[in-house]
């Protein structure tokens, strides 16, 4: 009743091709953007910025990257955190070694470096498929971790491999408060999300999805699989690289390779599975879920009195694992699908059909 496209006629091609064809959706997105850009910066506390909002946005960006590769192109990757690490360390080195380089340019270069590394590790994907490829991407994860720890050059010969992010200065303004860092992250993430949305609606995205659904059939109709797969690896790694750079600069301030372990890769994989494989919105929903869940669990478990400390952390493990299984059993297509079902219901309400 409230959510209905009745009376909205498309009279031009641009109107037919816009991202959100239904007016209510556009209003909703506008409201979310207003909330994120204008209201949250003044309403949220520093704790919210540093512990929830900034990690959420960065994770959403990384999940977006992984979703392009795994959700849209169908190449399961377990090396996401490795590419994030490349981005973080590349940004650090660009700012360190190129005098006077603007930070944003360094971020872009960091993304491009990650894309190059992603290309290299994407090369086997032409011959290797499925889980074999997934395990092969683990090689990327371990190799990158090892290189960053082993060769001191990458961390400017810090004895423990830690890099400390330089201050972010753009056009003379220093982004040093949680609020300003949040806004910077938000701008970057919003832009890249828009780019991703448009990419997956374009011919490129169609080619990715054709490869995902059946690569041989895609090849038969004239899609150059190798190029398309490599492009997906490059774009995905670019997103992950920028996310990694933001992780170092906007979130933690100083990171070591141990911040980008296999555990992190799994975390991001969880996000896209729970959020929705092959969905831009799903990347955000999944990131929100995974960021909030441990915090809520932590709060929730503390409410039960008389549990010893070490049991508590194990209990969190158990609940986390159990929830993931539960979620997969109940809604294997993720939160994005739930959202879709909800929208459909709203369209029909109060009628059942």
């Amino acid at each position: 009743m409230f959510y209905r496209e009745a009376g909205q006629f498309k009279t031009t091609y641009p109107a037919d091709q816009q991202i959100l064809p239904i007016r209510q959706d556009r209003y909703a997105l506008g409201a979310i953007l207003v909330l994120a850009f204008l209201i949250i910066p003044f309403a949220a506390s520093d704790y919210w910025f540093t512990a929830i909002l900034i990690p959420f946005l960065i994770f959403a960006l990384a999940a977006l990257g992984l979703n392009i590769l795994t959700g849209y192109t169908g190449q399961l990757s377990l090396g996401t955190a490795g590419f994030m690490a490349v981005g973080a360390f590349a940004a650090f080195n660009f700012v360190l070694r190129v005098p006077g380089i603007p930070v944003l340019v360094a971020f872009v270069l960091a993304g491009l470096t990650a894309a190059l590394v992603g290309l290299a590790f994407g090369l086997p994907s032409l011959r290797i498929k499925g889980f074999y490829l997934a395990v092969a991407t683990l090689a990327a994860q371990f190799f990158i971790e090892w290189v960053l720890i082993k060769f001191g050059w990458f961390s400017n010969y810090n004895s423990s491999g830690v890099i400390t992010a330089q201050p972010i200065v753009i056009l003379g303004y220093e982004f040093n408060t949680p609020r300003s860092k949040y806004l910077l992250t938000l701008c970057i993430v919003a832009l890249l999300a828009l780019a991703a949305k448009n990419m997956v609606r374009s011919g490129t995205g169609r080619a990715w999805m054709a490869v995902r659904d059946m690569d041989i059939a895609a090849e038969v109709i004239g899609i150059r699989i190798f190029r398309v797969k490599l492009l997906a690896f490059a774009v995905s790694s670019f997103y992950c690289g920028v996310a990694g750079a933001l992780w170092a600069y906007a979130h933690l301030g100083s990171v070591e390779p141990a911040a980008f372990t296999l555990e992190r890769s799994f975390q991001i994989l969880f996000m896209i599975i729970i959020g929705g494989v092959g969905s831009i919105l799903g990347s955000f929903l999944g990131a929100a879920f995974i960021v909030l869940l441990p915090i809520l669990l932590d709060r929730g478990v503390h409410l039960i009195p008389g549990i010893p400390r070490d049991l508590l952390s194990n209990l969190e493990f158990i609940i986390f694992g159990g929830l993931i299984i539960f979620f997969l059993a109940v809604e294997p297509h993720g939160l994005a699908r739930l959202w879709q079902i909800g929208k459909e219901k709203l369209r029909l309400w109060p009628f059942p059909h």
Binding site: T70, L76, P124, R127, I128, K129, G130, F131, Y132, A134, V135, A136, L138, A139, F142, F143, E145, W146, I149, K150, M214, I216, A217, V220, L262, F266, L269, F270, I273, V277, D310, L311, N314, L315, E316, F317, I318, F320, G321, G322, L323, I324, I325, L328, A329, P332
Partner: protein, 297 residues
């Protein structure tokens, strides 16, 4: 030359340890197409359960029997709670579910028994002896013997028992197996129980080598390159892959590591097996013994 052989044999024997974990993966993948990431957690769970009840004063053999019963129960429970609701889902979903399962089992193991490191005393002493000038560890030989017995037993089980034949039928084609009346659910339960048994053996041997601790769960990561090298669905592949990875890893550590002179050697074993496996995969995309994939449009 003696030194080379010592390194080689040490590597081969270490490789057998990887094969033991890889076996559990292969069993489950063969029968249900599930890539079971929780195998490492199951190894940890089995070893920790065993050592904890031994430390509470139970007889060694009785403890093995009890742990085996627990692992079998766990296998059937996993089938009931995790797999059955996820029938007909894409493989990646099942894979994710096993990652969730890994978290669950790890938390359960440590929640039940605590997080301390335990030592397992197996009734075999770890003393080296010399064959033709090459030092060989008695313990490693025992492990290889165990692995050999295990593989032979599994081969007999798969080829000569009714359940084994049903397992192979299920592995070939779920639907065809169902249509001739093979109870799919029970078969999967059995496979997971057998994988639990293999996890127990691997857990005991790894545990007595490294101590029973959380790091046991990472044995899964050691087994993955073995798997892709040998092929996900081949028991022979798991053994041969383990031998190749073990030997290559040790040789690379000793020879490549030191000859590059970069102080590069340490830590190379974390990624070298994967790089090796990828090289093999580029030539044979299904691993050495994996079933050939036929693609149709």
């Amino acid at each position: 030359m003696t030194f080379f052989f010592e390194v080689l044999i040490g590597g081969l024997l270490a490789g057998v340890m990887y094969s033991l974990v890889a076996l559990g993966f292969v069993l489950i993948y063969k029968a249900s197409g599930v890539f079971n990431f929780a195998q490492g957690a199951m190894v940890f769970f089995a070893a920790l359960t065993f050592i904890s009840i031994v430390e509470r004063g139970m007889n060694f053999w009785l403890a093995i029997a009890v742990t085996l019963a627990v692992m079998i129960a766990l296998g059937f429970a996993i089938e009931r709670v995790v797999l059955r609701p996820l029938v007909n889902q894409p493989q990646i979903t099942l894979f994710m579910a096993t990652i969730g399962l890994a978290y669950f089992v790890e938390g359960l193991a440590q929640g039940l028994w605590g997080a301390q490191v335990h030592a397992i005393e197996l009734p075999i002493r770890d003393v080296p002896f010399t064959v033709a000038g090459v030092n060989v560890s008695q313990f490693d030989l025992f492990i290889s013997g165990t692995a050999a017995v295990l593989v032979i037993a599994l081969a007999l089980f798969f080829n000569y028992t009714g359940i084994g034949r049903a397992l192979r039928a299920v592995a070939d084609d779920h639907q065809a197996a169902l249509s001739i009346g093979i109870p799919l659910e029970r078969i999967w339960g059995i496979v997971w129980a057998v994988a639990g048994f293999v996890a127990l053996v691997a857990g005991l041997l790894w545990g007595s080598r490294t101590g029973v601790q959380f790091a046991l769960t990472f044995t899964a990561l050691k087994a993955l390159p073995v798997l892709i090298l040998g092929g996900f669905d081949s028991i022979a592949g798991a053994i041969v892959g383990g031998l190749i990875v073990g030997a290559a890893e040790k040789l690379a550590e000793v020879y490549i590591g030191s000859s590059l002179g970069l102080n590069i050697g340490t830590g190379i074993e974390n990624w070298f097996p994967y790089a090796l496996a990828i090289l093999f995969l580029l030539v044979r995309p299904e691993g050495l013994f994996g079933e050939k994939r036929i693609e149709r449009v």
